[in-house]
Assembly symmetry: C2
Homo-oligomer: 229 residues x 2
């Protein structure tokens, strides 16, 4: 549970020392995004969005612009329940040499991606959109991180592929999993690489709660207890 | 379970497709280090070390040298059980302006540390020592990461302190916890900041298994299944 609006803003039904609970609605099926939000102690519910990522982009655009487009569309086509709350949408893209590495189509595709990443630095962008349902106010932004893999011997790539951690992950790896063995360094927000840039999210939250937001951090921390997922 | 030595090296009692299980002994009481190793799927056991971090350093030294000293002493005074295995010791220091920020003595100390970190970039070093008990071979190294906090308003610092996440953490924060809200970016190994640099560890493992190590990654991944902690 996260409480951060004073009662004058929301007609929440549960008060805790003068603060009301805010619900977060995550328009994403990514279990990693949900985990990050739960670890922050937020009261988060996954909701559907009618946006399909496979749908064609509206035209040629940079990875950053494409991620922003997807996040915006996921938010626009999200279906939160009635009532107050904050809707969150996000989209993450992994790219190198102008090519976006999506989720691997299969083992051969995953092997190709890991070979492409080995010994080099690539980028990860996550675009985030946040909407305050009460005010209708929306804020959007994106974070870019760089990730450097060490060189990988062919047998190391084979071993990694056999481990099957690449399935359902953009770029065929998760930085929080065993691929961490091969990652020399990152530059930027770590959680962006996992799929949800926490500091950017906090910044967007402050934007949509502007005017009421001065008390945000205090309310986020003072009157709640963290609940482990 | 992690299997990576061929049977000619170890007289392990459990064979899996020709590979034997290696036990890891972690000479550290840090739950975060243990969690990282468990997430990698390693068969890790926490063991005692008679080294006391509070003991005086042998002389004036840099944070990097001091962390290396502590890690070396933890390894030297570790008490693994008889038999084969890999002993791991590590020491993490947070520092800024030449001052090492240890675990806060109390709330006031934690507040002072967070105020010091706010709006600035500091460094985190983790020194790691690894010993292969079978060969007696040892490898050591350290990783340095930079962490940049956003500026924090006094009420944000107060709110963070009230949350009590600072207890028992060097520098009064854990990058994997809610302090992530305030962390703009890092440069280097993320897991180093958590307390255990995974890529450095993998490098040291290869050093102590040199000559047998070519099959290391394959064995780490091919014949094992990850067990969640």
């Amino acid at each position: 549970m996260l409480c951060f609006y004073p009662p004058t803003v929301y007609n929440g039904s549960i008060a805790a020392e003068g603060w009301f609970i805010v619900r977060f609605f995550l328009a994403s099926t990514s279990p990693r995004r949900r985990d990050i939000l739960l670890r922050l102690g937020l009261d988060v519910t996954v909701i559907p969005s009618r946006h399909e990522e496979e749908a064609a982009a509206p035209g040629p655009m940079s990875p950053e612009a494409l991620a922003a487009h997807h996040a915006r569309e996921k938010l626009r086509l999200a279906e939160p329940p009635a009532g107050a709350g904050i809707v969150i949408a996000a989209d993450t893209l992994v790219y190198i040499d102008g090519e976006i590495l999506g989720k691997p189509a299969g083992e051969a595709d995953a092997r190709r991606m890991i070979r492409t990443l080995a010994g080099r630095t690539h980028r990860v962008v996550t675009a985030v959109c946040v909407r305050d349902l009460a005010s209708g106010r929306t804020a959007a932004g994106h974070a870019v991180s760089e990730v450097t893999f060490e060189p990988l011997a062919p047998e190391t790539v084979d071993a990694y592929i056999a481990w099957n951690e690449w399935t359902d992950k953009a770029g065929a790896y998760g930085i929080q999993d065993r691929a961490s063995l091969f990652i020399r360094s990152i530059s930027g927000c770590y959680f962006n690489v996992v799929g949800f840039p926490v500091n950017l999210f906090y910044d967007l939250l402050r934007q949509v709660t502007d005017g009421r937001g001065a008390a945000l951090p205090q309310a986020m921390f003072s009157h709640t207890r963290r609940t482990e997922p």
